[in-house]
C-alpha cells in the first residue's frame, strides 16, 4: 500500500454530517450522529466490520466458547485488553476503566441511553489489570452486548469518576471532550455545530491516523452535505445521503466525489394496525387489543394491499442503488435472512383484486371503494415527513386506488412521530391510523431482541403509557413461544432457523408487517479520500484511523 508513513502526514480531513452531534458521550445520547462522532475518539473492546463479523479493538481477541472466553453455560464472558494501550492523556488503559464504564451506565440515576446493552449483566469485575469478566444472571446466547460496537465504548474512569448517576449530565467538559483511545482527540467541541480534532499522539499504531486534524461539521440538510462532497469538494466525507437516487447521480456527475452504499438491517415497512384506531371509540379502547381492526384484521385485505405494491418501482424512485426490494423484516446478516420469502416482489394488481373479491370485499355501491358488511376499505396512511416517504405514499395510494381501497395520507413531523410522547396522538406507537410506514433496524448482528419485540405483552397500550415496541399489536401465542425458545438456544444453526421462522410469521404468513425496501446506507467521499469502508453494522467512521489521502487533491 502506498499509504504507509508517519502519523499526521495527510493534513486536514473534513467530515460533514447533516445532523449535528450534540454530545460526544454515547451513554447520554442514543443519537446516531453522536455515537458516530464519538467513535473517532473513544473505542469499544471490539467492533463489527463491514460484513458483520467481530474484530477486536481494545481487546486482544474476541472471546468465544471455543477459546474459553465465554463460559459453556453462556453466563460469563471474559475480555482481555491489549497490552500497552494508552489513553490520549498518556495514562494506561486498565480493566478498571472497563469496570467503571459498566458502573457508569448501569447507575440507575444516570439515565444511560445504552442501558439495554447491559441487560442481564450481573457483575463486571476486573480479574487483573487487563482482564475483565462479565457475569450474566442467566444464560446469554449473545454475550457480545456490553463493550461491543460504537454504542458501548470504554470511557476513562479518571475523567468520569465524578460523573456518576445524577451528576452525569453536568460533566460538560467530559461529555464534550472525552479522553479516549481512538485515533483522534477533541480540541474544540461546539454542540450541534462543529468538532475540531487532532491526531491522538498516543494512538496504538504509530503510523496512524494519516490525518493530523479533522473538522467534523454538523447541520444543514442531506442535499447540502452531498453537494459539499460531490460537487464543490469542500468536504471529504458526507454521511447518510438520504436523497432521491437521481439527485445523487446528478451530483456525482461533477466527478469530485463518489457515493458509496452498503446494506444493513434497515427495512422500510408498512405496519398494519391490528386494532381499531377509529376516533369514535373511547380512549382506553381505541387502538387496543380490545377493539380488533374492522378490516385489517382480515388477512386477505392485508395480503391484497401488499400484492398491489410494486417494490421495484419504489426502489427506483426512492433509493436507487441504495435500496433493494424485500419481503423480509430481517434482511441480514445472511444467516438470518429468509431466502424463500420472495413472493411479494412481483406486483399483482389482478391477483389482489381477485383475492379481495373472493374474500367478499366488493364494491357494491359503485363508488369505487370495496366494502363488506357496511365496512368500507378506507385507509388512513401515516408516516413521518420526508420527501422519499411522501413519494412512496403517493405511489402506494395510487396502487391501492386500483384495487378499490381509498387512502388518506398524513405525514407527521418526525420529532413528533418518533417522539414517544405519551400525550401525543401522533406517535407511531399510539398508531391512531390504519397503516403506517417507517424504517427500523437492529444493532449489531443478532436479531433476537428485534424479533422479540412482537410478543403480545409488548403492545403499546394506555396502561403502559403507550410504550412498547409491538407497534401493530400483533399477538400470537405460538410466536411468543418461539421467541422464548430463541432466547434459550445457543446453537447458531438452530438460532437461524428459529429467527427465519419468526420473520416469516410476521411477514409472508400473516402480512402483519409488509416490508417494502431493504434500505442501504449511501454516503459519499471525495475521490481524494481512500480507505473508506462503509460499514452498516457499526459506526461509519469505524476505520477512520485507516483513511488516507490519494492524488494531488490535498
Amino acid at each position: 500500500d502506498a499509504h504507509e508513513g508517519e502519523r499526521g502526514r495527510d493534513g486536514q480531513l473534513n467530515i460533514i454530517y447533516w445532523q449535528a452531534p450534540s454530545i460526544l458521550n454515547p451513554y447520554l445520547s442514543g443519537g446516531t450522529k453522536d455515537i458516530e462522532a464519538s467513535s473517532l475518539i473513544i473505542e469499544p473492546l471490539a467492533r463489527y466490520d463491514q460484513t458483520g463479523a467481530m474484530v477486536p479493538y481494545l481487546a486482544e481477541e474476541i472471546p468465544t466458547v471455543g477459546n474459553g472466553g465465554v463460559s459453556e453455560d453462556l453466563t460469563t464472558i471474559t475480555w482481555k485488553l491489549k497490552e500497552g494501550l494508552l489513553w490520549s492523556d498518556g495514562t494506561p488503559v486498565t480493566s478498571a476503566d472497563v469496570v467503571f464504564t459498566a458502573q457508569y451506565c448501569m447507575d440507575p440515576e444516570g439515565g444511560c441511553a445504552q442501558l439495554s446493552k447491559f441487560d442481564g449483566v450481573e457483575t463486571v469485575e476486573a480479574l487483573d489489570d487487563l482482564t475483565v469478566k462479565v457475569t450474566f444472571g442467566a444464560a446469554q446466547p449473545n454475550p457480545y452486548q456490553p463493550f461491543m460496537g460504537g454504542q458501548s465504548p470504554i470511557i476513562q474512569a479518571a475523567q468520569f469518576a465524578e460523573c456518576l448517576g445524577a451528576k452525569a449530565p453536568e460533566c460538560t467538559d467530559a461529555n464534550f471532550g472525552p479522553i479516549g483511545t481512538g485515533p483522534f482527540v477533541v480540541t474544540d467541541f461546539r454542540t450541534n455545530d462543529v468538532i475540531e480534532l487532532v491526531a491522538n499522539d498516543n494512538y496504538r499504531d504509530p503510523s496512524k491516523p494519516a490525518f493530523a486534524t479533522v473538522t467534523f461539521k454538523g447541520g444543514g440538510d442531506a442535499t447540502a452535505a452531498g453537494r459539499a462532497v460531490l460537487e464543490t469538494g469542500e468536504f471529504d466525507y458526507a454521511w447518510n445521503l438520504q436523497l432521491a437516487p437521481d439527485v445523487i447521480a446528478s451530483m456525482a456527475e461533477a466527478g469530485v466525489g463518489t457515493p458509496v452504499s452498503a446494506f444493513g438491517t434497515l427495512v422500510e415497512r408498512l405496519e398494519m394496525n391490528m386494532t381499531d384506531p377509529s376516533p369514535s371509540l373511547e380512549e382506553g379502547v381505541r387502538a387496543t387489543a380490545a377493539a380488533p381492526h374492522p378490516f385489517l384484521s382480515d388477512e386477505a385485505v392485508r395480503r391484497a394491499l401488499s400484492m398491489a405494491i410494486d417494490r421495484d418501482l419504489l426502489v427506483e424512485v426512492g433509493y436507487g442503488q441504495a435500496g433493494r426490494p424485500t419481503c423480509n423484516l430481517v434482511p441480514g446478516p445472511e444467516i438470518y435472512a429468509s431466502t424463500e420469502n420472495t413472493g411479494c416482489l412481483v406486483q399483482d394488481i389482478e391477483g389482489a383484486n381477485a383475492l379481495l373479491d373472493d374474500a367478499g370485499w366488493v364494491d357494491s355501491n359503485g363508488d369505487g371503494i370495496r366494502e363488506k358488511d357496511g365496512v368500507e376499505l378506507r385507509i388512513l396512511y401515516q408516516t413521518s415527513t420526508n420527501a422519499v416517504r411522501q413519494d412512496f405514499q403517493a405511489l402506494i395510494k395510487e396502487w391501492w386506488g386500483e384495487i378499490g381501497v381509498e387512502t388518506e395520507l398524513r405525514n407527521i413531523d418526525s420529532s413528533v412521530f418518533f417522539g414517544g410522547d405519551p400525550g401525543s396522538p401522533d406517535t407511531f406507537q399510539r398508531f391512531y391510523a390504519d397503516v403506517e410506514m417507517y424504517a427500523n433496524n437492529f444493532d449489531g448482528t443478532d436479531p433476537q431482541a428485534y424479533l422479540g419485540q412482537y410478543t403480545c405483552d409488548k403492545a403499546p397500550k394506555p396502561e403502559s403509557q403507550w410504550q412498547g415496541e409491538n407497534i401493530n399489536r400483533f399477538c400470537d401465542p405460538a410466536y411468543d413461544a418461539l421467541v422464548a425458545e430463541l432466547g434459550a438456544t445457543a446453537d447458531q444453526a438452530e438460532r437461524s432457523r428459529i429467527a427465519i421462522a419468526l420473520n416469516d410469521m410476521l411477514t409472508k404468513d400473516t402480512m402483519t408487517i409488509v416490508p417494502l425496501v431493504d434500505r442501504g446506507r449511501v454516503s459519499a467521499h471525495a475521490n481524494s479520500l481512500a480507505g473508506v469502508v462503509l460499514n452498516t453494522w457499526d459506526s461509519e467512521l469505524w476505520n477512520a484511523a485507516d483513511w488516507y489521502r490519494v492524488g494531488d487533491n490535498r
Partner: protein
C-alpha cells in the same frame, strides 16, 4: 351653480369611482391588478380547462421537460400532454401549479383577511376605548414575542383531530395553517390602526358625531372604520404577500400541508434539489410567488395613493 333641475338629486359621485380613477393612473398598480386577475383566473378556471388530476402519477412518463425545450430543436423529452413538463413521479406540473396556486392564494387571502380582521378589531378597540388600550397593547406585545413554530405545533396537536373530524383532512389543516399565520401576523395592523384611530378620535367630525348622540358602536362603524380603510388596505396587501411567503417557509420547516396537497411554496421547495437538472421546476412556482407578491405590493402602492384624499383630490 347651475340650477336646471332643482329637484332631481344629482347622481351620486361614488367615491369608489374616484378611487378607481386615481388607481388607474398608477401604471404599476394596474399591471399588478391585471396579473392578479390573470393568476386568479389561471388557478380557478384553469383546472376546468386543464382537467388533469395534479396528484395523478404516471411514473413511466416522469421528468418530461416543458414544451419550449423541444420547440427549438432540442432533444429533450417533451409532450404536448404536459406543456410545463412532469415531475419525478410523472405528475403534471401545470396541474400542480394550478392546484398549488389555489391553495397558496387561498391561504394568502384567508390568512390576510383573518389578520386584518383581528388587527383592525384590536386596533380599533384599543384606540377607541382608553380603558382597553393598555391591556390590548400588552397583549399585542405578548403575541409579538411568541415563537411561531411551537405555537403551530401546539395548535396542530390540540385542534387537528377535531378540525379534521368536522372539515375533513385537507380543510382541517388549511384552517389550522391559515389560523396559525393569521393569529401571528395581525399585530402590525393593530398598531397602525390603533394609532390612526387615536388620531381620528381627536378629529372634529368624531366630536360632531358625539354632539349628535351617536353611540360608540355606530361611531366605530360609521366614522372610524371607513377612515382607517387606507392603512388597512395597505397592511392587507402586505399581509397577503407575507402569508404566501410564510406558508412556503412553513413547508420548508415541515409544518405545512400534507404531501399530496401541493402549494407553490412546497412545489418550489421540493424542486430545489433538482434545480440544476430541471430549472423549470423552480422557475414556475418561484415566478408565481414573486410575481403575485410583486403584483399585490404594487396594488397596495396604488391603493395607498388612491385612498389618500390629499392625493386623490388633485
Amino acid at each position: 351653480m347651475t340650477d336646471a333641475t332643482l329637484n332631481a338629486v344629482e347622481k351620486p359621485r361614488n367615491q369608489w369611482w374616484d378611487v378607481w380613477a386615481q388607481f388607474r393612473t398608477h401604471k404599476g398598480a394596474v399591471a399588478g391588478l391585471c396579473f392578479l386577475i390573470f393568476i386568479t383566473l389561471f388557478v380557478t378556471l384553469g383546472p376546468v380547462l386543464w382537467d388533469v388530476d395534479p396528484g395523478k402519477l404516471n411514473i413511466r412518463n416522469k421528468n418530461v421537460r416543458p414544451i419550449y425545450m423541444g420547440l427549438f430543436g432540442g432533444d429533450a423529452k417533451v409532450a404536448w400532454a404536459n406543456p410545463m413538463g412532469t415531475d419525478n413521479l410523472g405528475r403534471d406540473i401545470m396541474a400542480n401549479i394550478m392546484a398549488g396556486g389555489r391553495v397558496s392564494l387561498a391561504v394568502g387571502w384567508t390568512a390576510m383577511i383573518l389578520a386584518v380582521f383581528l388587527g383592525t378589531l384590536i386596533g380599533v378597540l384599543a384606540g377607541y376605548f382608553k380603558r382597553l388600550d393598555g391591556l390590548l397593547m400588552r397583549f399585542t406585545d405578548l403575541v409579538l414575542a411568541l415563537p411561531l413554530l411551537p405555537l403551530l405545533l401546539v395548535m396542530m396537536l390540540l385542534f387537528r383531530d377535531p378540525l379534521r373530524a368536522t372539515f375533513g383532512p385537507e380543510n382541517g389543516i388549511f384552517i389550522l395553517i391559515v389560523t396559525g399565520i393569521g393569529i401571528t401576523s395581525w399585530m402590525q395592523t393593530a398598531r397602525i390602526v390603533r394609532g390612526d384611530v387615536m388620531a381620528l378620535k381627536e378629529r372634529e367630525f368624531v366630536l360632531a358625531a358625539r354632539s349628535i348622540g351617536t353611540p360608540a358602536r355606530r361611531m366605530i362603524t360609521r366614522h372610524l372604520l371607513p377612515n382607517v380603510m387606507s392603512p388597512i388596505m395597505v397592511s392587507a396587501t402586505l399581509g397577503l404577500a407575507t402569508a404566501i411567503i410564510t406558508e412556503s417557509a412553513l413547508s420548508f420547516l415541515g409544518l405545512g400541508f400534507p404531501s399530496d396537497f401541493p402549494t407553490w411554496g412546497k412545489i418550489l421547495f421540493d424542486s430545489v434539489d433538482r434545480m440544476t437538472a430541471f430549472p423549470e421546476r423552480v422557475i414556475w412556482p418561484g415566478l408565481a410567488i414573486s410575481l403575485t407578491v410583486l403584483a399585490v405590493n404594487y396594488i397596495g402602492d396604488g391603493l395607498r395613493d388612491a385612498l389618500d384624499p390629499r392625493i386623490r383630490g388633485q
